[in-house]
Amino acid sequence: MNRLTFGGLAPAVSLFGAMVILLAAVGSALVIGETVIPLPTIWNVLKLEFGYSAPEVNPIDHGILWSYRLPRAILAMACGASLALSGVVLQALLRNPLSDPYILGLSAGASTGAVSVAILGFGAGVLSLSGGAFIGALMAFGFVAFLARMAKGEGAGATSSLALLLAGVAGAQLFHALTALIIAKSADANQARAIIFWMMGNLSGSRWQDVYLAVPVTMLGLGVIFGHFRALDAMTFGREAAQSMGIRTSAVMTILIGTTALLTAIMVSLSGAIGFVGLVVPHAARFLVGVRHVVLIPAAALAGGVFLIMADIVSRVLIPGQTLPIGVVTALVGAPAFAVILVRSSRAHSG
């Protein structure tokens, strides 16, 4: 009984554990790289940057750490948390364990939106890039939801896994193609690179100004989503059951899908479309802390942060002297996990 009560010991312990692991992951991300920077040096740089006295640090190490590795680690953390939160919300609302902003084409739509702004030009500031990504993500979701509903042939209720997946594939391919088309037409020398950036995701070139956008948005998203944990729980047995428990399901779905689109869009505009985080992390978190959203939401956010920081470290050290797009790493982990979840969920359906 105790374990299942709000504020019980076990969830508190697991969340505290996750926070410790997150700190350790950030620490590793700062230490590990082409040059290994030892922890005391990192500590000194942090002290200096926050205005405390500390022994001088080699300016190159200082630069690498403060201008490169730290913003990159924080951005990875925010991105991972946001994508994992999006996955939790989409899986609960669509009642489909395979939902994730990447698979449902939201990320692809956000890429198209961001690229349209960046290349076709409606002003190329960070905010308008994100705005374009947001509109793109909403359009992609609308397209995929419409297609899935048409494929199913009736109205409300749980959309079947197959219809939703196929609609997601169609949506993602369509928006990827549009992105590639826009980039290819722009006749930029780095176009191939840019296509890979927007489709696979990349944290290279993370700067503090990205962090200043990503962190507040992630906190906002976490707050809004956590505020709806009971509504998300109530969706367990479907929309109608949630409605009969007094949930304003249409309003909740609008708010939460809007939040998901916002989180995905901002992260895509900063780091490209990183796949599978929103799929894998919520399942891992559910395995560890259970399905109740009061614990699942913070746990998934923390685990998402850890996962993407680790993936980023791997992307930097896997091939010496070369940094892989982070999406390659997440896909290498995510695709097999996707297969496992697909098999398990189809067994659950037939059983």
Binding site: T236, A241, G246, S345
Partner: protein, 257 residues
């Protein structure tokens, strides 16, 4: 709590589903809603639950019109058990029943000891206390249905609406559910296919093509005339002395051939 249904009409995509349906269920009474497939039973229940808005007419529960109540207030008074609500989540039975407390909780009023007691009572009433830690998805159909009813019990509503609660259950579990309905002090309206179950209720309403064709006590409504017209079957009533009521048997209607 009394349920008053007045002149409900509803069309979906131009097709009339319900036409001028009126019902009055007194507080504490039970109503069986019967009718052929597609006669509008489920839709009427959903209108009564406030899930679907009717084009015309209104539903009043207690003193309040349904549309004047917020979803939360409505859920505190009225519980709805739909047909076979499933999930892909690995949710424990106890957590599933706890969901019933949702309309009484908010960020500022978390789950308390009293909520725990209500949940325990609901689980013991449905005889699922032993399954508390089990995964919902490992249960049989009858057990799942009892979990759903326990969840709605935990909602502590004064009105229960049930959409074919005995569907897919073996006869023992069917009888257990019907027995629970009769024992209820709350007002109950349920859609049923088995006409013999309808005898257990205080009132029976017959829907046919979206219209209410009969409404009254079981002994007045569940008679061969009404059933043969609505269901297109031949009815053979036999009086069962132990039950002190007729038991209906059916065969193919001569007129339907």
């Amino acid at each position: 709590m009394r349920i008053l249904v007045e002149d409900i009409s509803l069309s979906i995509q131009g097709k009339p589903i319900l036409q001028d349906v009126s019902l009055d269920i007194a507080s504490g009474q039970s109503l069986a809603l019967i009718g052929p497939n597609g006669s509008g039973k489920s839709t009427l229940l959903r209108v009564m639950a406030g899930h679907i808005c009717a084009d015309q007419g209104q539903v009043t529960i207690g003193k309040d019109r349904l549309c004047d109540l917020s979803p939360r207030n409505l859920a505190q008074r009225l519980g709805f058990v739909s047909q076979e609500a499933g999930t892909t989540d690995a949710i424990a039975v106890e957590d599933a029943v706890k969901l019933g407390r949702t309309p009484w909780l908010s960020l500022l009023s978390p789950f308390r000891g009293e909520d725990s007691r209500i949940v325990e009572t609901a689980m013991s009433e449905m005889a699922i206390s032993a399954y508390g830690k089990k995964q919902f998805n490992t249960l049989s159909g009858g057990e799942k249905q009892r979990v759903h009813i326990a969840r709605v019990l935990a909602q502590t509503p004064q009105i229960f609406l049930l959409d074919e609660p005995t569907n897919h259950l073996d006869i023992r579990h069917q009888i257990a559910i019907i027995d629970w309905v009769i024992r209820q002090k709350s007002t109950v309206a349920m859609a049923v296919h088995d006409l013999n179950h309808a005898f257990a209720c205080d009132r029976v309403a017959v829907l046919h093509g979206g219209k209410l064709v009969a409404f009254g006590e079981p002994s007045e409504v569940l008679v061969p005339d009404v059933i043969e017209t609505v269901f297109q079957v031949a009815v053979h009533p036999n009086f069962a002395a132990q039950l002190n009521r007729p038991v209906l048997a059916f065969s193919k209607s001569a007129a339907a051939q």
